[in-house]
């Protein structure tokens, strides 16, 4: 029930406060009553038919970069240890 999934806004129906979002090839109508200024191309976190929050591509990239870094650090360390 705590299922929530990032999806891309395809179009916005301002009158109804709804949007069509795309999750890969699948589309779904959701409510955007809980967020502000939703625009096509933006990503939102969809939960029980509602957008709960926008998803920041920059922060996502930053998170992935940190993960990559942690892995590289570990590799270096191991390499270092092996070299020691």
């Amino acid at each position: 029930m705590c299922l929530a999934i990032p999806a891309e806004i395809v179009s916005v129906n301002e009158a109804a406060d709804t949007a069509i979002v795309a999750l890969g090839p699948v589309r779904k109508e959701i409510s955007i009553a809980l967020i502000e200024n939703a625009k096509p191309g933006e990503f939102v976190l969809v939960h029980v038919g509602y957008a709960l929050h926008k998803v920041s591509p920059d922060e996502a990239a930053r998170t992935l970069a940190m993960m990559r870094e942690a892995g590289l650090d570990a590799e270096f360390a191991e390499f270092g240890e092996a070299a020691r």
Binding site: M1, A4, P6, I35, T63, M67, G71
Partner: protein, 370 residues
């Protein structure tokens, strides 16, 4: 799927696993409670265990809305469906949770009660519009994630003047539960992985009180397996460094203040209950919401004069212990014997976010192999 597949990447997982293995001090044990069932589910479904060193252990917390709802409230829902003959709309897992006398909403449905599974509270609104001669009650459960949609639906119902729609409100509050866990005696947990989606609404700020008061790290984390691993790494680092801070792994969604608009809508519709019973935790002060008087017409508790009686959990079921991190599913003597997902005894075996269900469905082989 963007922002999904990247966070399930095997190469990154290996890297994080190596980092954790390197940073986890072999001499010590790290006991990390993932507050949310969403984390529990991810850990088991993706086999995160297999990538963690022996001395880093996950303890499953109470963050499963289906699991924590006490039996008395499910009895109330049954009463609404069976005695008041309403169309009772509920999120899926709730249907199978055992209530008193080995009953459940699913059994009531099989016997003819009009119980419907919905994916969104909006479906319940639609059902109400389509059945004007029937009473439609939305059995609202969940933490701060499902609460804002329920609030929107109540505002819609009021605006439309829907006469046959009401909400049986069981929304509960994460910080209160965390507080309760931390003040209780004997919690053997070093750090917390904090809620992801809840925090998208309430932000990270509410956890600051806990790190300050109880000096245990809290890392807010997403529900993808890499998120959980990275959060574990961040918690280990804090513990190694003797820090106890609120850290945010889930920066792509969570901010310090969360979703202000959602919070405002929730505040307009709901107010705090003085106390609410949680399965496992007992009565927890200020831990739940009720519908404000301005929406009283849509409050099923008022409309149907619902009185909640405290009902005992099933005998021998250790859900209560499990929900406060005191026991693991395998410690329950019914686990896999009398209690399986097909025939659950306790709520933790029902929800896919329940620890017992996750352990049984995805992790059973670990026990048998051991």
């Amino acid at each position: 799927m963007k922002f999904v597949d990247e966070f399930r990447d095997q190469a990154l997982a290996m890297g994080l696993a190596a980092a954790i293995a390197r940073e986890a001090v072999p001499a010590r044990r790290y006991s990390i409670m993932e507050f949310c069932g969403g984390h529990t589910h991810a850990i088991f479904r993706y086999g995160v265990h297999d990538l963690m060193p022996e001395n880093v252990g996950f303890v499953h917390g109470p963050g499963c809305p289906v699991c924590v709802l006490p039996i008395g409230r499910i009895d109330n829902a049954l009463e609404l469906a069976e005695e008041h003959g309403v169309i009772l709309c509920s999120y899926g897992d709730m249907l199978r949770v055992p209530a008193s006398k080995r009953r459940s909403l699913l059994k009531a449905k099989a016997e003819g009660a009009d119980v419907r599974m919905v994916y969104s509270v909006d479906d319940a609104l639609r059902i109400a519009r389509g059945n004007p001669s029937r009473e439609v009650v939305f059995f609202a459960i969940g933490f701060e994630t499902t609460t804002p949609p329920t609030a929107v639906a109540l505002r819609t119902a009021k605006a439309e003047g829907l006469k046959n729609f009401s909400v049986f409100c069981n929304h509960v509050l994460t910080p209160a539960a965390l507080n309760h866990l931390l003040t209780a005696a004997g919690l053997d947990v070093d750090a917390f992985i904090g809620p992801s989606h809840v925090s998208s609404v309430i932000g990270s700020r509410p956890y600051e009180y806990f790190t300050e008061t109880f000096h245990r790290p809290v890392v807010i984390a997403g529900f993808e397996p890499l998120d959980v691993m990275q959060a574990a790494l961040m918690a280990i680092r804090q513990l190694n460094e003797g820090r106890a801070e609120v850290e945010n792994q889930y920066i792509r969604v969570v901010t310090r203040d969360g979703n202000r608009k959602a919070r405002t809508i929730v505040d307009e519709v709901f107010e705090r209950r003085e106390g609410f019973e949680w399965r496992g935790l007992g009565a927890v002060p200020d831990s739940a919401l009720r519908i404000r008087d301005s929406y009283a017409a849509f409050d099923a508790e008022k409309r149907f004069s619902i009185v909640t009686r405290s009902a005992p959990d099933a005998k021998s079921c250790e859900c209560a212990e499990i929900l406060r991190g005191a026991k693991k599913p395998v410690d329950c003597k019914l686990f896999g014997k009398g209690c399986t997902p097909d025939s659950p005894v306790g709520s933790c075996m029902v929800s896919s976010e329940g620890a017992c269900a996750a352990y049984w469905t995805y992790g059973r082989f670990r026990q048998e192999a051991a």
